[in-house]
Symmetry: C2
Subunit: 254 residues, 2 copies
């Protein structure tokens, strides 16, 4: 394999699956860390704070600092600060997204927002969705942390944040902006903050439509692993191919 | 105007708007009733029981018997009984749909349903939607009382039942069946139960995509009134035209 400086990992399906670690991935990360190569964790999950994600990784045997963790919540908050300045934001979402807005000193309001931000919210209600719809009809911008329509769990697919953003978008007839993968915003933030060249970066993930397309759109090399939600056979039928296609990360030489 | 025997009215936007009666419509219904012509009320609203709808109409000056009221809840329950026999049903919805299933002696369950029925539910939660998604992934049929993506209120558009059915449909990659307008099921039930010919029936409504298309698909004449959500100008641009286009029902001679 070509030499890279920054290895960007998806989490669920790549480092662990549900409640179990994927040993080949954990080993691979240990090897990178031993060689003092840079490791990043890039997740569409907006519900957890960096410290909660760090703790999850620790339980699977992976040591990470919060600075290595890029979630769609963090990027969304940074994006709103950059593009909307002192805007008031109505937030649908859980801990992660609320924490991120607090950290960026952005005012979270219930009435007359300039921006509606939607992340996964397992306590979503008809009233919250109606509030979002009315705000967007009154001119607020609509931002989704990520566009995943569904996500896999042990009992089957659960509704993803994208399915709720799409609901609001259809009710209001307004196109949303999405921050998470496959949007290249998270990888671009890593590049800017650490000064890598795109050729020095590698995006590793199990989901073609989010992880691999994210790397391709950003313009870096990609690795597809067959340890999660999208099988190798399915990936091989795609027009745009990942740089590497492996069963698991034991098949990759650093 | 040609002579008809059965006059089928939409409710909101046709007989009343929000909390106000539309006098020309109420007068028109009084004239029909005086001439002993048959009047029906055909609504996509699955949240209210026939007796609640009867009471609403009474407040606007319209006397109706419960037998004249056809709601998407009623038709859905009858449809499930006819097509799924002794099926167990998981219901998302309010009073109207629950009442209709009780009346049809259909078992409403929380676990392992054969059919998932969705009507508007202002207390919808992530858990209810997830339950619906998992049941459909396990093979349950997906039926929506109506496919309205949004409905107008005084403060703007609120999310309609169709937007939630679409969410489940997208998460599960399954096509739903819809009962309410523009599906012709409700008009066909009236025809069957009273023995009208299609030429004797008239569908009157303000919403082109639900009321007018329902009549056209069913095969009866239609009246578009300019008192609700879709303007006359918009209707005149459509390829399939209503039989009559009027500002309000004072413009129609019986």
């Amino acid at each position: 394999m070509k030499r890279y400086r920054a290895f960007c990992f998806d989490l669920d399906g790549t480092i662990y699956r549900g409640k179990k670690a994927i040993p080949s991935a954990v080993d691979f990360i240990h090897q990178l860390q031993k060689k003092r190569l840079d490791v990043f964790f890039v997740t569409n999950n907006s519900s957890k704070t960096p410290s909660q994600i760090k703790e999850t990784l620790r339980q699977f045997g992976v040591d990470a600092s919060e600075k290595q963790i890029y979630s769609s919540a963090l990027v969304t908050a940074k994006y709103v600060r950059e593009h909307f300045g002192k805007a008031k934001v109505f937030v649908i979402g859980q801990d992660g997204i609320r924490h991120a807005f607090k950290q960026q000193n952005i005012a979270v309001v219930e009435e007359q927002p300039d921006v509606v931000v939607m992340g996964i919210d397992r306590e979503i209600t008809y009233d919250k969705l109606t509030k979002a719809c009315l705000a967007v009809q009154n001119g607020a911008a609509l931002i989704g942390t990520n566009e995943d329509i569904r996500f896999p769990t042990e009992e089957g697919f659960h509704p993803g944040n994208g399915s709720f953003v799409k609901l609001v978008s259809q009710v209001c007839n307004v196109e949303p902006v999405f921050m998470g993968k496959p949007s290249p915003v998270m990888l671009d933030m890593i590049r800017q903050e650490y000064g890598y060249a795109k050729e020095e970066m590698l995006m590793i993930g199990d989901n073609y439509d989010t992880d691999i397309l994210c790397g391709i759109r950003f313009g870096c090399d990609t690795v597809h692993v067959n340890t999660g939600v999208v099988r190798t056979e399915t990936v091989k039928e795609k027009e745009l191919q990942p740089t590497y296609v492996v069963d698991d990360l034991s098949g990759l030489e650093i």
